[in-house]
């Protein structure tokens, strides 16, 4: 598989920094430069009629930011009642978007050589959002394509057409 955009900017075989978080037990990572900040749970104002992945809006120091549930985007089961998600605020061309995750992990450095494309058995819309995995010592680090993850299907007044 061809190299993904994350890597084209950097030299091969150099180390990369990822901001990591947990989703349903899986370890995910987003390149540090794409992350604006990581914050605790914030009160969310729901947006009725919005696509199901859009949980609502949060007030980020006067800036209104859309909150997208990564569990929903990645077709994982719903978060248990009472479990408060954390916000990973990422920069996108259309402004900041908050990705709701279960838990925040460390910032880790990985070597490019440990990268591998997702297996063919990973199918469907989710595959488009997972660039691949880094083989860490004890577990796998999923690389998230934040751009695709934030591309919630258009919320027209027509029936929502979610590709998940």
């Amino acid at each position: 598989m061809a190299l993904q955009p994350v890597y084209t900017l950097s030299q091969p075989f150099c180390t990369l920094q990822f901001c990591t978080f947990l989703l349903n037990g899986y370890l995910f990572g987003v390149p540090v430069p794409e992350v604006q900040e990581v914050i605790r749970y914030q009160p969310i104002t729901p947006v009725p009629l919005a696509p199901p992945a859009v949980v609502g809006m949060i007030n980020l120091r006067g800036q209104i930011v859309l909150a997208i549930d990564l569990r929903h985007r990645l077709a994982l089961e719903k978060r248990c009642e009472g479990e408060l998600p954390m916000n990973v605020v990422v920069r996108t061309p259309d402004g900041a978007v908050s990705l709701l995750v279960d838990e925040i992990g460390d910032v880790i450095e990985v070597d490019h050589s440990t990268f591998e494309a997702p297996p063919e058995t990973l199918r469907g819309a989710v595959r488009a959002m997972i660039l691949g995995v880094h083989k860490l010592d004890h577990r796998l680090l999923h690389l998230l394509d934040t751009g695709k993850a934030c591309q919630v299907p258009d919320a027209g007044d027509s029936p929502v057409n979610d590709h998940l």
Partner: protein
């Protein structure tokens, strides 16, 4: 580019704009020494500076202009339309060169030799010696080549030649009471006494000087500085943030016991409010800034159309946020051009109609209820209702009815019936439909059928409305209503389904609260659609929770709490929005929604509330559309739109014939449409070509049975051996049709508030009379549907409603 060249460009640009106005004004007041001096001074300044900066071509052109002006000033030649045109052409030339300097740094390749030569010729041609002032006035007055005059109306007419003032007594009389403002933004000192600011709370003191840094003598410019617009925008954003922080602070202080903290919060509140007001003011610009170019536009346009148009402006110092000023610039220009091109007739036509040869175009701006009203009115021929109707049908702007089994003849017949059934005002609104134009020929000004729809869209984009009024032979008036500013708006905060929503106050009409016991009885259903009788008129109700899909059905049934109805105005239609609670009104800062949510028409944006939480701002027109209260896309194509339009006609008092259909059904027919009421024995009904007919006054009259068009469940019971039939005779042109109804009930004089809740062909809408819900019949449509082809070709006479 050099700083000095940049300054020169900015300054000259402003000077040229002023020159345009002054020259046009000078044309109407050729004797005004002051104006001439000012014009001369401006040209001289430009000439001097460009000589200094080394723009020789530009210098040559301005020099030629200056020469001509100096002859004028010395009284060697008189000013007429030709000279003015020459000078205006020079201004345009200078403008082009300035643009070239802006782009490339030097004054272009063109040397404007023909123009300079023309200016030279004008000096010689016109050199007929010092012309007496009265003569000069006569030249302007007698010249029908379409000059326009901008008359400062507050002044006495001493400036007019004697002939002119006797020629136009009507004009002077008309000018007196309205007291429009002198079109002279350049000399603000003179403007002040005549300008009327309808809003007393808005002091104009001091502002007029600072607004026109170039005005009057150059010394006054010490008081003002130039600030980049982006800086002001940034300031505005910051103030928006501050207002939000203030709101949060106030909420905190409300809970706090600390008196010191509360005092600080109060002070902070006051300062923030004042700051907000002041920063808003920095972005406010007088509407005169965009009107300034209209004298020139109107003059040129009138010349090219061969018309005479007089422009009056009132309320130039009415202020608007600059983003809004920008947004309405093009729509206003379009409306002005339209008025000159279509509205005002040619001088000959006007004289024949007994009107002053010069048409009057009036611009008026004033504040009203937190909004700015701009009126563009002319005293021209007015809109031709019949022609608009005709065009709308021709161009297929009134779409064919949806029913697929109808022939096209039927369909178009129905369509025309629907148009003919429209109120005048709704017919006027047809011109806002895309692709509409009644212009006989496409001129280079207008008539391409684009424009009015763009005007409407642009104005609506900034939360404004456009309204047209017209009287045949008397003129047309377009009123544009727009909000003062877009950034911070007053809003009503409501809660629904546990969430808060903000409703912009602009759309808010009133609030109605129904007690728990009232809610059962006061909310009625029209075939499942909830309505409330608001002062005798049916108000369609929309449940916000249901519209947004956040309803909790079981809770609603279990707790018969009071009901809050927020009465909202979406376009012409009022509707009631049912919410859980009405909280407060608050100034909110509008923030745009992200791209992902742009598609949801129910929201206009979001805001941050005092407690730091985000709340959605409801988009009232969008919500109304979603709830199908108003027709989608604001087209008359939809049944609701059409019926709604027709229903408008019945807001006035009408005599209505009430008839029975079946046992329960009641219908109403406007008495004005009823030719006669007849009772016949059943035997008169005969058949001709499978159509029921009767012989009536020497004619064969087709019969239409109401019970067949609107079958009632109890029809069988009505088939009792009644010996007679009741016939409502309806005539349209030469044709007569009989409508057989089950019984005649009454004739009522009713201010019928017709609501079109469930659109059905042949029914305009429903209303309540004598405590019965009654359907108002669309008789022309029914007849056309039942007797196809009969009434074709009579569209223009189909009126009546």
């Amino acid at each position: 580019m050099d700083e000095i060249v940049k300054d020169f460009l900015i300054e000259s640009g402003e000077n040229l704009d002023r020159l345009d106005q002054e020259l046009v004004k000078l044309e109407s007041e050729p004797s005004s020494k002051e104006l001439l001096d000012s014009v001369f001074r401006t040209i001289h300044t430009i000439k001097g500076t460009c000589g200094f900066l080394g723009f020789t071509r530009l210098e040559k052109l301005t020099h030629a202009g200056e020469n001509l002006l100096s002859r004028l000033r010395d009284g060697e030649i008189g000013l007429n339309a030709k000279v003015t045109s020459g000078l205006l052409a020079m201004v345009d030339g200078v403008r082009q060169m300035l643009a070239a300097i802006q782009d490339s740094g030097h004054d272009g390749e063109e040397n404007y030799a023909p123009l300079i030569a023309a200016l030279g010729r004008l000096q010689v041609e016109q050199a007929v010696g010092a012309m007496p002032e009265a003569d000069a006035a006569r030249v302007t007055a007698g010249d029908n080549s379409g000059e326009i005059r901008i008359l400062p109306a507050g002044e006495p007419d001493c400036r007019l030649g004697p002939q002119e003032s006797t020629e136009r007594p009507g004009q002077i009389a008309a000018r007196g009471p309205i007291a429009p403002v002198v079109v002279e933004p350049a000399v603000s000192g003179q403007q002040a006494p005549e300008s009327r600011n309808p809003e007393p709370g808005n002091p104009e003191s001091g502002n007029s000087e600072s607004r026109n840094p170039e005005s009057g003598n150059p010394e006054s410019s010490v008081e003002t500085i130039r600030v980049a617009v982006t800086l002001l925008d940034r300031l505005m954003n910051l103030v928006g943030e501050l207002v939000l922080a203030r709101n949060q602070l106030l909420q905190l202080s409300g809970r706090s016991q600390d008196a010191g903290f509360q005092a600080v919060a109060q002070r902070m509140n006051l300062i923030a409010t004042e700051l907000q007001g002041e920063v808003m003011k920095t972005r406010m610009q007088p509407i005169g800034n965009i009107w300034n170019k209209f004298p020139r536009t109107v003059r040129d346009l009138a010349l090219s159309c061969g018309k005479e148009v007089r422009l009056e402006m009132e309320g130039q110092d009415t202020e608007l946020d600059r983003t809004i000023i920008e947004a309405i610039k093009d729509p206003l220009t379009h409306l002005v051009r339209n008025s000159v091109d279509h509205g005002v007739e040619c001088a000959a036509v006007r004289r024949r109609a007994g009107k002053d040869a010069a048409g009057l175009l009036k611009l008026r701006a004033f504040h009203e209820g937190g909004q700015v009203n701009i009126e563009i009115s002319d005293d021209g021929a007015g809109l031709d209702v019949d022609r608009i109707r005709q065009k709308a049908i021709e161009r297929g702007l009134i779409p064919k009815p949806a029913a697929s089994n109808q022939t096209s003849a039927q369909a178009s017949a129905q369509a025309s019936a629907q148009v003919s059934g429209m109120a005048e005002r709704d017919v006027f609104n047809l011109i806002f439909l895309p692709g509409f134009s009644t212009a006989e020929k496409v001129s280079n000004v207008s008539g391409r059928g684009v424009g009015m729809d763009v005007v409407k869209t642009n104005v609506e984009k900034i939360g404004g409305t456009v309204d047209i009024q017209s009287t045949p032979g008397r003129g047309t008036s377009v009123r544009v209503k727009i909000p003062l500013t877009l950034a911070i708006i007053p809003a009503l905060i409501v809660t629904c389904g546990g969430e808060r929503f903000a409703i912009p106050q602009v759309s808010l009409s009133e609030l109605v609260r129904l007690d728990a016991e009232e809610r059962e009885t006061k909310i009625e259903l029209v075939h499942g659609a909830p309505v409330y009788r608001l002062r005798g008129r049916l108000l369609p109700l929309v449940y916000l929770d249901r519209e947004l899909g956040i309803g909790q059905g079981e809770q609603e049934a279990s707790s018969p709490a009071a009901i809050n109805i927020v009465v909202l105005q979406a376009e012409e239609q009022q509707f009631g929005l049912i919410v859980d609670e009405i909280t407060d009104t608050e100034e909110i800062v509008v923030k745009p929604l992200g791209k992902q949510l742009k598609g949801i028409s129910a929201y206009a944006g979001a805001t941050i509330m005092g407690d730091g939480r985000v709340a959605l701002i409801l988009d009232v027109p969008g919500l109304a559309q979603k709830a199908r209260v108003i027709a989608e896309g604001q087209e008359f194509g939809h049944d609701e739109g059409r019926c709604g339009a027709a229903a408008q006609a019945f807001r006035e008092e009408h005599a209505l014939l009430l008839a029975g259909n079946g046992i329960e059904g009641r219908v109403a027919i406007p008495l004005s449409m009823v030719a006669r009421l007849e009772e016949f024995p059943k035997s008169v009904v005969e058949l001709a070509a499978a159509q029921e007919v009767m012989q009536y006054r020497g004619q064969i009259v087709p019969l239409v049975r109401l019970s067949q068009i609107f079958p009632s469940s109890s029809e069988a019971e009505m088939q009792e051996p009644d010996r007679s039939i009741q016939v409502v005779v309806y005539s349209e042109g030469k044709h007569t049709v009989g409508l057989i109804v089950d019984r005649i009930i009454d004739i009522v004089e009713e201010r019928a508030m017709v609501e079109s809740l469930t659109p059905r062909a042949g029914i305009v809408g429903s209303f309540v009379t004598q405590r019965h819900v009654t359907d108002l019949l669309d008789l022309p449509a029914i007849v056309r549907a039942a007797v196809p082809g009969l009434l074709d070709g009579l569209d223009s006479q189909a009126g009546g409603i």
